[in-house]
Amino acid sequence: MIKRLATGAGVLWAAATAAYLALLLAPGDTVDILVGEGPDTPEIRAGIIAEWGLDRPAPVQYLSYLWRLLHGDLGRSYQLQRGVGEILATQVGPTAQLTLAAAGTGVLLAGAIAVVTAGRGRWWRGVAAAAELVSVSVPPFLIGIVLLSVFSFTLGWFPVSGAEGARALVLPALALGLPLAGVLGQVLRGGLERALEQPFAVTARARGLTERALVVRHALRHALIPAVTLAGWFTGTLLGGAVITEVLFGRPGLGQVAMQAVTGRDLPVVMAVVLLSAVVYVTISTLLDLAYRVIDPRIRG
């Protein structure tokens, strides 16, 4: 457990360092890059040099950067003239809402489809497999566009953009959750089918268990193991997909912030978003690592 936390901290440190190196190695003068497209006055330049310690030797610069991060100080956006932490704090909520709703949608859909189709006839499985193939092959923004044109423009059931109320969350959550459901569904169904072919499934059937009981009591747990190991991928997909979904649906959130920062080359904000996503990733993968131990007690021994 302690080892797991240490690894997580190590990964975060390395991510912070990588972001810092990227900034230093970027072509052009570091001060120019940090100013970006914001107002450029000698006073602001002096402020940047002071804050980043650019007049001091490189190791000192680096250490003071890490020191600031450790204190939760993400720096300043010189374009927006505000603290980066402050900018992110106001935008975390909508993004958390969106990603959690999408994750829930994806997991529920995938689980339901897998349990219903595993062990069924070839036709059912064929349909499920085709649906999964398409849902992972369609770019996420295209799913969003299709949902928008059908349910908002044509049917008018859901608002076209914004983040007001639960109705506004439905389409973005679906757009972000469907690709997830596709991959997770494939993994779960594959896991279920493999589990149902194992000798222990024969033994369980020989005890008089129904197929449904076999799937729910035995096979599902086995199918969760490969799904959990993909957790990192899922987290990444959700965080990355959030950018596109928020832009497409005009929702406020970290994705919008990141997009504006990238377009305006507001590097302090971009670096902060990247670090934040690394923190989320490390947290989630640590939690799922614990879940893994509960699901598969064999790895404890």
Partner: protein
């Protein structure tokens, strides 16, 4: 020691055979269709003029938002440009971003993965941690970070995707190298008195590199999606260039009036990725059939 009774596997093996036969029949339609589409795609990349005569950049205000019909078989976009021509010519942009990014990611990933798999333990540890850190960052965000530093454009987007996908390949190759290094046939080659170098070149490398075409085919699909995603966000080829993701980005303002402007580039991306995945899985099955 244990002796295995091959008998126990019989029922499963028998039914497995039946299932494979069924799959083969199902594949009968899927694979040729996929290969056919990929060939058409190849023509679109190499000689787009053959498939679409119109100029993808020529705007015709009179034809703006014209629905599909004679003259504009897939309709015209909001500037009156021929959608068919733009989709066909867009293949070159969209696919070359994906293909070059995949080629870069695969070659760097293979080198680093092999280095990790064959290197002394400390170096392997260090490289493995580096792969971990890179894959901590969501692909799209990592790509955005690269673009934020280097600026938008085709080359930078390609580079960004390559960097983002590199750790996937490196990790697979590293794991595969471990498996092969400890395989029975490598140990046997040692007992024949072959040198370490000969065993590495003769057995380890070829067996590690074997699955790369499979990985690259499936990875190409992912890269195409990532590339179109970045273009959709306006980071890729700049207007008026025809690129599928960028076309969709423009088209989303006209969804109410011109569904065709969004549908066809969307369909092109989806079909491309579906066909690449189908082909990749077929390759994979053939490969797995070879290695027990």
């Amino acid at each position: 020691m244990t002796s295995t009774a091959p008998d126990l596997a019989r029922p499963a093996a028998a039914s497995g055979r039946a299932a494979t036969a069924g799959r083969r029949r199902a594949r009968g339609i899927g694979l040729p269709a996929a290969m056919g589409f990929l060939v058409v795609l190849g023509v679109a990349v190499a000689a787009p003029g053959v498939l679409a005569g119109a100029d993808p950049l020529a705007a015709d205000p009179l034809a703006a938002l014209a629905p599909p019909g004679p003259g504009h078989w897939l309709g015209a976009d909001h500037l009156g440009r021929d959608v068919l021509a733009r989709v066909v010519h867009g293949a070159r942009h969209s696919l070359s971003i994906g293909a070059v990014a995949t080629a870069l990611a695969v070659s760097a990933g293979v080198l680093l993965g092999l280095a990790a798999g064959l290197a002394p333990k400390w170096l392997d540890e260090a490289l493995a941690r580096a792969f971990d850190v890179l894959s901590t960052l969501p692909e799209l965000l990592l790509a955005l970070l690269v673009v934020a530093i280097t600026g938008p454009g085709t080359v930078n987007v390609t580079l960004a995707i390559a960097i983002a996908q590199l750790p996937n390949y490196a990790r697979v190759i590293r794991a595969q190298t471990f498996v092969v290094r400890h395989a029975g046939y490598v140990e046997h080659a040692v007992t024949f008195g072959r040198s370490r170098l000969a065993v590495t070149l003769g057995h380890v490398l070829p067996n590690v590199l074997g699955p790369i075409p499979v990985l690259a085919t499936i990875g190409l699909g992912t890269a195409v999606i990532a590339g179109s995603g970045l273009s959709f966000l306006g980071m890729g080829p700049q207007p008026p260039a025809a690129e599928w993701g960028a076309m969709l980005s423009e088209a989303r303002n006209y969804l109410r009036v011109a569904w065709w402007e969004a549908l066809f580039p969307g369909l092109a991306i989806t079909l491309t990725v579906v066909c690449l995945t189908v082909a990749g899985r077929r390759l994979q099955r053939r490969f797995e059939g070879r290695t027990p």
